[in-house]
Symmetry: C2
Amino acid sequence: MAKGALTPRAEDFPRWYQEVIALAEMGENGPAAGTMVIRPWGYGIWELFQAELDRRIKEAGAENAYFPLLIPESFLRLEADHVEGFSPELAIVTHGGGKELEEPLVVRPTSETVVNSCFAKWVQSYRDLPLLINQWANVVRWELRPRLFLRTREFLWQEGHTAHASEAEARDYALLVLRTVYQAAMEEAAYIPVLTGHKTRRERFAGATRTWTCEGMMGDGKALQMGTSHELGQNFARAFGITFTNAEGAVEHAWQTSWGVSTRLIGALVMGHGDDCGLRLPPALAPVEVVVVLVKEDEGGRAVAEALVAQLRAAGHRVRLDDKTDTSFGRRSVGWEIRGVPVRVEIGPRDLAEGNVTVVTRHTRDKETLPLAGVAREVEAILARVGPELLAEAAASRAARTVDVDTLDDALAAGATGFARVPMTVIGDDGEDRLGAEAMSVRCLQRPDGSLARVDDDDADLVAVIGRSY
Amino acid sequence: MAKGALTPRAEDFPRWYQEVIALAEMGENGPAAGTMVIRPWGYGIWELFQAELDRRIKEAGAENAYFPLLIPESFLRLEADHVEGFSPELAIVTHGGGKELEEPLVVRPTSETVVNSCFAKWVQSYRDLPLLINQWANVVRWELRPRLFLRTREFLWQEGHTAHASEAEARDYALLVLRTVYQAAMEEAAYIPVLTGHKTRRERFAGATRTWTCEGMMGDGKALQMGTSHELGQNFARAFGITFTNAEGAVEHAWQTSWGVSTRLIGALVMGHGDDCGLRLPPALAPVEVVVVLVKEDEGGRAVAEALVAQLRAAGHRVRLDDKTDTSFGRRSVGWEIRGVPVRVEIGPRDLAEGNVTVVTRHTRDKETLPLAGVAREVEAILARVGPELLAEAAASRAARTVDVDTLDDALAAGATGFARVPMTVIGDDGEDRLGAEAMSVRCLQRPDGSLARVDDDDADLVAVIGRSY
């Protein structure tokens, strides 16, 4: 039914993506090139994702704080890899209050420098460690090929910054966040399966000693880097002078991590679960889990609709009553479908005359006529199924497009439509050049069984996952 | 006990304020002049305030969205009063991605211009109205005399933006927000009494036809503007072309409002309730409502402390166990006192030997030794009292420093230590100049009984509240 409105994914995936974002009223371009307006439907998804992540971040022991948007340009230069990585992407404030500034200010592309200038003051003794801080904020990076939610010149994110007394503790924390915050939120709230592993030296965060990543496969077989957790070693601690007196009275530099996910996750939901009729949201991240649609304005129908809304709200669900009967029923149905609302209950006079309502399950597009009496229970049963079924579907799709290969040529061939797993020994630095030339890259390194590498693992014993990416 | 640590308020109120912010670890200056770092204790208060406001904003029917930080400079010029008001305060981005920009970008000082450029696209028909949008965001204004939380070059806030089909509907909405969101959150969560009224023409928001305000009195008798709700008339609708087809098919410009509160509210809590021992938080906005302090490390004490923490958490309270027994008990107690935690339960071996614990109520500084058995119930009883007692105390203090006068000279005298209420007829434009010369201003206009002016009230029948302000 909604099919006509959208370009089919198989025909033009990027165009389908843009159309979903626009028609679902999730976002649009801002007036300054590369910037983004997040409309209420997109922002509603973000609020739910934020709440889920924030809860998990707090469970991991971190506290929220806020650091300034504007950073003296000289701060960025203090860590050599970091400035090299970010310099091409910076937005610079040169004037404030009608005057030229003595020192230009950088609009933060990430906050390592300003956070660590604070950490240097806050950390004195081993008793001050670990220091576990998170920030929800906007950042600006001058992207050359902006795309809504995936790559915009300003985006919203959280960035965690921590300091620890030992390298092992810092690594454990980076992995705790990777698993219990990121992977868990992606798989248990967004229901998008992710591969976890670490990046090659070339793909690492600027200033990190190791970057751990969560990689999802989108509907077109491309990878999306959905979240990263970095071990920073003592690089920033040396640059900013973050030292502590240990229990024995000796002064050491702290070991650090940083980690972030962004509004890009909204793009992941669109591309990870969307079908040719639009978005398909898991209930946990749906601003509206159930929409009750009054087909026509009539007293009996309205009373039934309002009672059902009340019943489902009392059970703790986010429910919307759509009684805009001055807009055509078909148009409203297509609208809710494009927006990905998991369950739609249609209440119309013909069904109701027989004591029935119609229940439409978005992710399967099943449509059932059911007795009104048990419909709330049925809706709850459907809601419980949506997430796990979306996860299973995405996992099956990923498995069907992932192959194990032994040569770089085979990896290049398979990587063009999905993921290729190839021994790291086959790649080397030259291999990454060849991949780059074909718009592919090593998405992550893993053990052959898909688990994370341990400290003492040799790169030669690892498998590289190869694919195109956003 | 903590008194020694802080400058008494009566001696030097601004210094006391700075010391509380620093010692309670609420915030500090950022590296770029005028910017602010909000530390976890300050940010924890903000998160609770945000949640309270966000809930009320949603109850008022508004949805959250997000608009870009960077705005083309030309947009600011579209509304004449607006650009005049904000031009001196702008931060300007002139370079991005290593190149000079063709058009400089303004770092938003407020988002009327960018929001209304979107509204012009989103609003077509009377069916699209009212359009009720809120944004949580950072904004930048080049303040010349920055002070933490009160006036910083970057601050966090929410800004609501709405469009309506008629002037009356817009006014009603501006007042709905003033009363049910702002005044209610200030008086029922922060427990700070506020005067409400409207601003004189001189004190109005740049671009508004009427500015409604909530004004609190701080501990030194000065006013703090805590939140404003503006009627914008059709000013921005004309500048940005926000038109709709009404039910009769005619095209009209929309009527608008905007409204905001900021991290300044954190400063209000410090100055509104703080005493010579530090902050005094109402439980609703306390990151920790109850701290259970283990005086010494011993098995029996720890078991009792942990059980009490569990019991109070199960009752839905935010409770912290302080078992850092390697730091002196006195230092920890003073720390919690400065941070304003409403209730402190001290668990020590001497009390415990007699089956007792010590309960300290922060806002009264009452200290009681109580039987362990009923202590959770007693703590809950105290928590229920804190907010209303803080409100009553602040209201009594305000009443004691507010006088009704009949001449400008008397108003100038009384305004030096508190609020003076004087007939608006006594003021006029000259009067506002004289007030300004004495660092005073009209904080708001009200009816003589303290209620809000109605549309048809004459300024001559109103009372002006006069005071110094932050």
